[in-house]
Homo-oligomer: 386 residues x 2
Amino acid sequence: MRPVSIIGIGSTPFSKLEGKGPVDLAVEASIQALGDAEIHPKKIEALYLGNFTSGILTGQEILGPLVANRLGMRAIPSIKTEGACSSGTLAFKEGVLAVASGVHELVLTVGVEKMTSANTSKVTAALASALDQSKEGSCGLTFPGVFAMMARRHMHEFGTTREQIAMVSIKNRKNGVKNPLAQFRAEVTMEKILGAKPVTEPFVLYDCCPISDGAAAAIICPTEMARKLSSKSISILSCEVSIGNASIDMMSDMVSFPATVEAAKKAFSTAGLSTKDINFVELHDCFTIAEIVDSEDLGFFEKGEGGLALEKGLTQINGKLPINPSGGLLSKGHPVGATGLGQIYEVCKQLRGEHPNQLDNPKIGLAHNLGGTGAVCAITILSRNL
Amino acid sequence: MRPVSIIGIGSTPFSKLEGKGPVDLAVEASIQALGDAEIHPKKIEALYLGNFTSGILTGQEILGPLVANRLGMRAIPSIKTEGACSSGTLAFKEGVLAVASGVHELVLTVGVEKMTSANTSKVTAALASALDQSKEGSCGLTFPGVFAMMARRHMHEFGTTREQIAMVSIKNRKNGVKNPLAQFRAEVTMEKILGAKPVTEPFVLYDCCPISDGAAAAIICPTEMARKLSSKSISILSCEVSIGNASIDMMSDMVSFPATVEAAKKAFSTAGLSTKDINFVELHDCFTIAEIVDSEDLGFFEKGEGGLALEKGLTQINGKLPINPSGGLLSKGHPVGATGLGQIYEVCKQLRGEHPNQLDNPKIGLAHNLGGTGAVCAITILSRNL
């Protein structure tokens, strides 16, 4: 397996993007990535497209061939990958494999989701297809409920406070203000959160990421080629995937996702790194509590200490380990299939020194993308191409 | 890239399988494949699952993690692949890549579809998600219409007769009689076909594959390992994918699928073989005309001569090039995401000498799996492991 790099990235804004379907959005992000890499579409040798709900919400599948046709690509292979909210990074992972193995030289990976054209109840049902329908799904459980239970349990077990949980939203909303791609660009206060109408206890609206449209893309090539073609390429140190529990009745507790723990173990091992080497993280804060749980599962903080770390400001942009300097899913929005590649886009922007919330000279960043009730997790570690 | 082989195969019957959801079916086929290979589920290092309509028709996604959990697998990577009717072979292809590249030793690939729990109009709409919704789909076109147009054009251009087209159904239905996995096990006569009520001119019911449930699985490992573990392993000479036209308005004619032509070119080139080396074929006869078009696109007959070849009996079980000795999609049924792996299952059974319609000592077989309006095609060439 040869070393591989990212030589081009692109992203639409994440928001309610009216008049644009999933193909339009994926094409838009892809054109940006191709432009960024200065690669003609006909040079692309394979297209992996991550998407979750396009069949259910828009009645449109075979997105890969439609995007490739629109871009005027050659008769290349194209595959859609699905793994609920981690669908985007799964496309990236297969692209990494195709290039690292020597099968292809230039692979386009793109994640996309079009959600806002359906009403909320249809979107909620579509998202619930990532729950085990034979168990929780058929009982009416939806994702806000799953994560609210986790929040309650985390508070019970470790004394995590409602205020600490709210701090995730306050921090990420603040980070999102400067991000032109973010759906929400307004700060939120503790007072506003604590006074808001509950969605599902203990969550209010500000604890939940919104329904969004969007697409993000990355072009992968061998590192040797990347060095020749671009001065701003990003090295892919690892991209690893693990399944966990696809049903919550299989979880040994409600305060951890084994899929994250396992994927992190593999990702650090492949990269030959430990948590200490990571300068910043984009992680899957679909709900406020998720950021706390994820930051612990990834090994950055002891289990139960994620809330405290937040309170101490360790994960602020100017903290020891900035988490979600992009604003995360809570600010940026969560166009499900696009999210993983959106995180990779944000990490690349930071490593290239081009981020609206630019950190001071970061060298290595980690992206964490979780699907379902921890059914599957994909973790990517990226560094500057030195 | 190292040589890879299939060491275990499994398949449910393809039919209306009441009381069984997509996870049940995929688990059933996987357990068979694991049993066939005598491999414990905990030895499997990755799971690729092909599926098309599960989100739309059953409200259940994340099938890979659900299947892996049920089988008691470890914390492995799992990815669902989608490419309309070629979804199954796309899973197989990614499995081949994962093993050939040296990343994994033992990979389970499974294709599954649960269709009969929804009513026909919902299934028709789900299948139409493989059409370009912004063009044909929104005009009300469905797949019987697409293929009926192709039949009309093939008749017009090449003088292909209605009788020749019907012969596909007569042959494949006859082949299906002995296949215990087939949904239809009764022969059909020319008289019955020509006298039947039209579905969409020139097609009657016997020209169209049915709505089906089913799953099929194959376990992939390095050839070196396969030789040690099994006396009946099958060598994967190539598995290649190409996109074509995802909208029919992009087709230069209505008598050929460029995706098949391109995928065949790659598959023969990778395997170092030509059409002459192929002893039999399982191809994508979703409609009668498809078999004629596919047999030409694959290069076995000149364009326009597929009907004549059929009339001459060349593609019968005892002909020069048996096509669909399993009964094909017209007899076996077409549980979409399962079909590609179902074809691979049938080719393996022939090469192992275990087929209910056993050919005389076949050495090399080809499986052809087409998605959408030729949006994507996946071709696999398999041989005995000598």
